[in-house]
C-alpha cells in the first residue's frame, strides 16, 4: 500500500499526571506520579478500512480514540492525519470537518436540552455546510432518513428516544459534516444485543455507501470480528498484537490475545468447562517491568521479566505484528499447533 493512511499513530504516548495535590505530596514526601495511559503505540488506518483496538478497561484504547480526534494532545510521538500533524490539520476548518467521533453512552452524548434537529445540525452550522435555514433543515432531514429515523423526529428531544435511536442520532450528527474518518469509541457497548446488531449493520452499510474509514474501539471481540479489517490488541497502554482480522481470530499469537479469546463465553460452548486466565490487570501507574503481561503469562521467563518486547512481525504469520519474546523465540508452540 503506497497510499498515505488516513490516520497514523507513530510511537504515540499520552501520560496523565495523577499526583496528589502539592500540599499532600509535601506532607507525605511523595514524588509526582504519572499514569502512562498510552505508551508508545504505532498503527495505521488505511482509507476505507476499519482498524479496531480491543482490550480490557484501562488498557488505553479510549485514550487513543481521543488522541486520534485531537481531544488530547500527545505527550510523545505523533498523530498524523493523512501524513500531516493532527494538531496542525485541526487548525484548518476544511480538515477538521473530515474527522468525527461516535461515543459510547447514547444518554450522555446528546445534549438533553437541545432538539434533535439542532444536535444533528450543529456541525453543519459550525462548518457552514448548508446555506440558509431551509437548506439546513433539508440536510438534517436527509441525515435522519439515512440513519433510519424520520425527518419529523428532528423536532423532538433526546429523552423521547430509545438507546438505539439515540445512537442513530449520534451517527447522524457525526455524518453531518461529510467526514471521511470516524472514530467510534465503544459505539454499541451500552446497547442491547438486538439493537447492537441494528447499529453495527447501519455502520457497515454507511461505510460501504460513503467510503468511510473507521477507528473502532471495543472491548467485545465478537463485535470486533464482525466489523474489522485489522485489529490491534491493547494491554496496559501498549499494542501487544496487531494483525489482519482473519489472522488474529484464526491464529492469535500473543498469550494475552489467546487468553482473552479463551475467556469469552460463547453460545456454542453451553456447559463447557474452561480454565480462565488467572490474575488481574496490574495498576498502570506501576506496571511490571519487561513485558507487562509477564505476571499472568504461562510462557513468561526471565527475559520477559526484564526486557520489554518490541512489536515485530511474528514467525509463521508474517502479517501479524506481535510483542512477545516467546513468539519470537518460538517458545509458544505455534508450529506444533498448526501441524497438530
Amino acid at each position: 500500500m503506497s497510499e498515505t493512511p488516513i490516520f497514523e499513530a507513530r510511537d504515540l504516548s499520552r501520560h496523565f499526571d495523577v499526583s496528589k495535590p502539592a500540599l499532600q505530596r509535601l506532607i507525605a514526601r511523595e514524588g509526582r506520579r504519572t499514569l502512562k495511559a498510552v505508551d508508545g503505540v504505532s498503527f495505521a488506518v488505511p482509507r476505507g478500512t476499519t482498524m479496531s483496538l480491543v482490550g480490557e478497561s484501562g488498557c488505553g484504547k479510549s485514550t487513543v480514540a481521543r488522541l486520534a480526534v485531537g481531544l488530547y494532545e500527545p505527550s510523545d510521538g505523533q498523530a498524523l492525519f493523512e501524513g500531516q500533524d493532527l494538531a496542525a490539520a485541526r487548525k484548518s476548518v476544511g480538515q477538521r470537518r473530515r474527522m468525527q467521533m461516535i461515543f459510547q453512552d447514547p444518554y450522555a452524548s446528546l445534549n438533553p436540552r437541545w432538539r434533535v434537529a439542532d444536535i444533528v445540525g450543529e456541525p453543519i452550522r459550525a462548518f457552514g455546510i448548508a446555506n440558509g435555514g431551509a437548506a439546513l433543515k433539508e440536510k438534517v432531514g436527509a441525515l435522519l432518513r439515512q440513519v433510519g429515523l424520520s425527518p419529523a423526529d428532528g423536532n423532538r428531544f433526546p429523552h423521547e428516544f430509545s438507546g438505539g435511536q439515540r445512537q442513530r442520532i449520534s451517527i447522524a450528527r457525526a455524518l453531518s459534516s461529510n467526514p471521511e474518518f470516524l472514530v467510534c469509541d465503544e459505539p454499541t457497548s451500552a446497547l442491547d444485543v438486538s439493537v447492537q446488531a441494528q447499529i453495527l449493520n447501519l455502520m457497515k452499510r454507511l461505510q460501504r455507501e460513503l467510503g468511510l474509514t473507521y477507528l473502532f474501539i471495543s472491548h467485545n471481540l465478537a463485535v470486533v470480528r464482525q466489523v474489522s479489517d485489522r485489529v490491534g490488541v491493547m494491554y496496559l497502554g501498549r499494542i501487544v498484537e496487531d494483525a489482519p482480522a482473519e489472522t488474529l481470530f484464526t491464529a492469535p499469537r500473543h498469550p494475552y490475545t489467546r487468553a482473552l479469546m479463551e475467556a469469552i463465553p460463547d453460545l456454542d460452548m453451553a456447559g463447557r468447562e474452561r480454565q480462565p486466565v488467572g490474575g488481574e490487570v496490574p495498576s498502570p501507574i506501576s506496571p511490571p517491568s519487561g513485558c507487562t503481561f509477564n505476571p499472568r503469562c504461562p510462557l513468561a521467563n526471565d527475559r520477559c521479566r526484564a526486557e520489554r518486547p518490541a512489536l515485530i512481525a511474528a514467525r509463521g504469520t508474517p502479517e501479524t505484528r506481535v510483542a512477545c519474546h516467546a513468539v519470537e523465540e518460538g517458545r509458544d508452540g505455534f508450529g506444533d499447533r498448526a501441524t497438530a
Partner: protein
C-alpha cells in the same frame, strides 16, 4: 396553547399542585408581590406624600383595638403614616433590592463559575480560593464592608442618591460565591460528558460550549439557588437597613420600618414594628418554602 399548556401538563406543575405548602407559599408570595409592585395604585395612602400627612393621626392603633379607626387598618406610626401603606411601599423596596442583588450575584457567579469550571487548573484554583475566603466571612460583614467603603469614598449627597445601588451591589457581592460554586461543580461534570466532547471535536469554541451546551444544563440548580437566595438577600437588606446602613430613610424598606418602629416597641405602640416584621417573615418564608419545594421537585432521586 404552546408554552402555557405545556407547563400545565408538566411534571413540575403536577408536583406543585400536590404540595400544599408550595401552593400556600405561592399564594402568600403572590399577594405580597402584587401588593408591593402595585403599591402606588393599591395602597390606601401615599406615605411619602408630605401634604397628606397629619401629625394628629400619629400613633393610631390598629382598627381592631378600642381607639383604632377603620381609616387605618393596622394603625399609623409616629409621623401619622398609614402602616399598611408603608409596608406595601417598603416591601417594594425590599423586593427591588432582593431581586436586583440576587440577579447581580447570579450573573457574577455564573460567569466566574463557568470560567473556573471550563478553564480548570490555575484559573479555577485562584477563583475558587477567592470564593472560599469570601464564604468564610458572614455575608452581612461583607455587605457592611462594601457599604462602608462606598460611604468613605463617595461624597455624602452622591452616596444618598445611589445608596440603594450600593446596597444591591453590597449584597450581590456577598452572595456570588454560592452561585459560582454551584455552576463550577455542574460545569466540571458537564464538560466531560460526551455531548461536550462531540462539540469539541467539531471545534466549537470553549466560550460557546459553556454558554450553549453547559449553561442550559445547570439552569435547574441555579433556579433553586436563586429562589433560596432571594429570601436571604431580602433578609440581608432588612438587616442592613435595620442597622441604619441600608437604603436611605427617604425610601424606607421593611427593615427601615422595623428599625423606626423598634423605638416604640416598649412604649406600647407595638404595631409600628410588629406588622412590618410579620410582612418580612411572611415574604421570606414563602419564598424559601417555594425554593425548598423547587429543589425537591427538580431532584429526580426524591421523586
Amino acid at each position: 396553547m404552546g408554552a402555557v399548556s405545556r407547563f400545565l401538563e408538566s411534571d413540575l406543575f403536577w408536583s406543585f399542585r400536590r404540595t400544599p405548602t408550595a401552593v400556600l407559599s405561592a399564594i402568600v408570595a403572590f399577594v405580597i408581590v402584587v401588593g408591593a409592585v402595585f403599591a402606588p395604585w393599591l395602597a390606601p395612602y401615599n406615605p411619602f406624600d408630605l401634604a397628606s400627612l397629619d401629625l394628629m393621626d400619629a400613633f393610631n392603633p390598629p382598627a381592631f383595638m378600642p381607639e383604632g379607626t377603620a381609616a387605618h387598618l393596622i394603625g399609623t406610626d409616629d409621623q401619622g403614616r398609614d402602616v399598611l401603606s408603608a409596608i406595601m411601599y417598603g416591601a417594594r423596596v425590599s423586593l427591588l433590592v432582593g431581586v436586583s442583588a440576587t440577579a447581580f450575584a447570579l450573573i457574577l457567579g455564573v460567569l466566574v463559575g463557568l470560567l473556573a469550571g471550563y478553564a480548570g487548573g490555575a484559573v479555577d484554583a485562584v477563583l475558587m480560593r477567592i470564593a472560599d475566603v469570601q464564604l468564610t466571612f458572614p455575608n452581612i460583614l461583607i455587605a457592611l464592608l462594601v457599604d462602608g467603603v462606598a460611604r468613605a469614598v463617595l461624597p455624602r449627597e452622591v452616596h444618598d442618591e445611589i445608596a440603594i445601588y450600593v446596597v444591591i451591589v453590597a449584597i450581590g457581592i456577598s452572595d456570588w460565591p454560592r452561585f459560582a460554586r454551584t455552576v463550577r461543580g455542574s460545569a466540571l461534570v458537564e464538560r466531560n460528558k460526551e455531548y461536550v466532547l462531540a462539540a469539541r471535536v467539531i471545534g466549537i469554541s470553549p466560550a460557546r460550549i459553556m454558554l450553549t451546551h453547559v449553561l442550559p444544563n445547570v439552569l435547574g440548580p441555579l433556579l433553586v439557588l436563586a429562589t433560596l437566595n432571594l429570601g436571604l438577600a431580602i433578609v440581608s437588606e432588612a438587616t442592613l437597613s435595620f442597622l441604619g446602613v441600608g437604603v436611605p430613610p427617604t425610601q424606607p424598606s421593611l427593615g427601615t420600618l422595623i428599625r423606626i418602629g423598634n423605638d416604640f416597641l416598649f412604649s406600647g405602640e407595638w404595631w409600628i414594628t410588629v406588622f412590618p416584621g410579620v410582612a418580612l417573615v411572611a415574604m421570606v418564608l414563602s419564598v424559601n418554602l417555594l425554593g425548598d419545594w423547587l429543589r425537591d421537585a427538580l431532584n429526580p432521586r426524591l421523586r
